[in-house]
């Protein structure tokens, strides 16, 4: 199986927009979940438990790569315990003290799957959607499948009216300015073919929200195909997630930069 995955990767890096890598027979696919963490000591075991449950129920081959940014709260110790419980072929801890984009690059170097799933480790993204991402990907042989909170029965729990308004407003702005062809540009719950993600990582330079937006914009430029799956986003299970003036400003700066450069 290892050589089969390797040949898929090298074929993918040579192909241009229109050509498709042939869809792998279902048994050969392996899904690497990249979990960048920072201070997720309480959430990490829960997210891993839900991931294991979801993958075992769907029967897909998987691994979970925890990329910890030097958390001071003991996240790495918890990850090591999980590695003992579930096996080190399923849970890989790869610590790294760097920013998000670099965490993905670092994680991908250790990933042995031919698909990469990125998601948040704070329980806002529920692993139960992963089989739906996989199904959607196979259905359309998509290069990327993106979770959307804004279409179908996607949605959010835990947001007040003001937060929802800001979210819809920001999304509206991205649609008008960037015309991305996906309904949720700032979402970070996605499935990528590994070679596609590698290619995009080479081209992307921004950070945070903007990084997620830039990935999709670049993917469009390179003519990769993108499917969507409605997801539910559950906010503030533990701790607080605030949207401050700073975040809004940096979002706008990032959006305008993408507007002017892509």
């Amino acid at each position: 199986m290892a050589s089969h995955s390797a040949s898929l990767t090298s074929a993918g890096s040579q192909r241009r927009g229109g050509e498709k890598a042939p869809a792998e027979p279902a048994g050969a696919d392996k899904y690497s979940v990249l979990l960048p963490t920072y201070n997720e000591r309480e959430n990490l075991p829960l997210v891993v438990w839900l991931l294991v449950k979801s993958f075992e129920e769907s029967g897909n081959n998987y691994e979970i790569i925890v990329i910890d940014d030097g958390s001071p709260d003991g996240t790495q110790e918890v990850a090591q315990q999980l590695e003992k419980i579930y096996g080190s072929d399923k849970i890989l801890l790869r610590p790294r003290a760097k920013k998000l984009g670099l965490a993905y690059i670092h994680g991908m170097q250790h990933a042995t799957g031919n698909f990469i799933i990125i998601m948040d480790a704070d329980l806002s993204h529920h692993p139960k959607f992963i089989p739906e991402f996989i199904r959607k990907q196979r259905e359309g042989n998509f290069d990327i499948v993106s979770g959307t909170r804004y279409k179908g029965n996607g949605g959010v729990y835990g947001w007040d009216l003001k937060r929802k308004f800001i979210s819809r407003g920001a999304n509206f702005l991205t649609q008008i300015l960037l015309r991305p062809g996906v309904s949720d540009l700032t979402g970070s719950f996605r499935l990528y073919r590994k070679d596609v993600l590698q290619k995009l990582m080479e081209k992307c330079i921004s950070k945070g929200y903007v990084f997620q937006m830039e990935m999709i914009v670049r993917a469009r430029q390179l003519n990769f195909t993108i499917g969507e799956v409605p997801i539910s986003f559950v906010d503030r299970v533990y701790g607080e997630s605030k949207l401050g003036g700073n975040e809004i400003v940096s979002f706008l700066k990032g959006l305008l930069t993408l507007f002017a450069t892509t």
Binding site: P45, L46, L123, Y150, N153, G155, S167, L177, V234, A260
Partner: protein, 92 residues
């Protein structure tokens, strides 16, 4: 061409066409009625765009799904997970 360039060039073309028509540079001789509509057209379009924006935002805000069941399901699964992990030897 970047999105910014697309916007700027499209707006420039539209503005030039509008100016041409308003000043009647091609000497096509329009009726006064046509001219009366033409002159305030950019403002009308701006107001329309503004209304469309507000209307769309209002609609989308109202239709923003609240995932109550998803949250309940998650809270229950958290309890289940904690119990199962504790039995497997996880210490927090």
């Amino acid at each position: 061409m970047t999105k910014l360039e697309q916007w700027v060039s499209t707006l420039l073309v539209l503005m030039l066409v509008w100016l041409c028509l308003v000043q009647d540079l091609l000497n096509l001789g329009y009726s006064k009625k046509f001219h009366d509509v033409l002159v305030p057209l950019p403002v009308y379009l701006l107001v329309t765009a503004g209304s469309y924006t507000l209307g769309t935002l209002g609609f989308r805000l109202a239709n923003f799904n609240d995932c109550e069941e998803a949250a309940q399901e998650l809270f229950m699964q958290i309890q289940e997970a904690k119990a199962d992990l504790a039995s497997k030897g996880l210490t927090l």
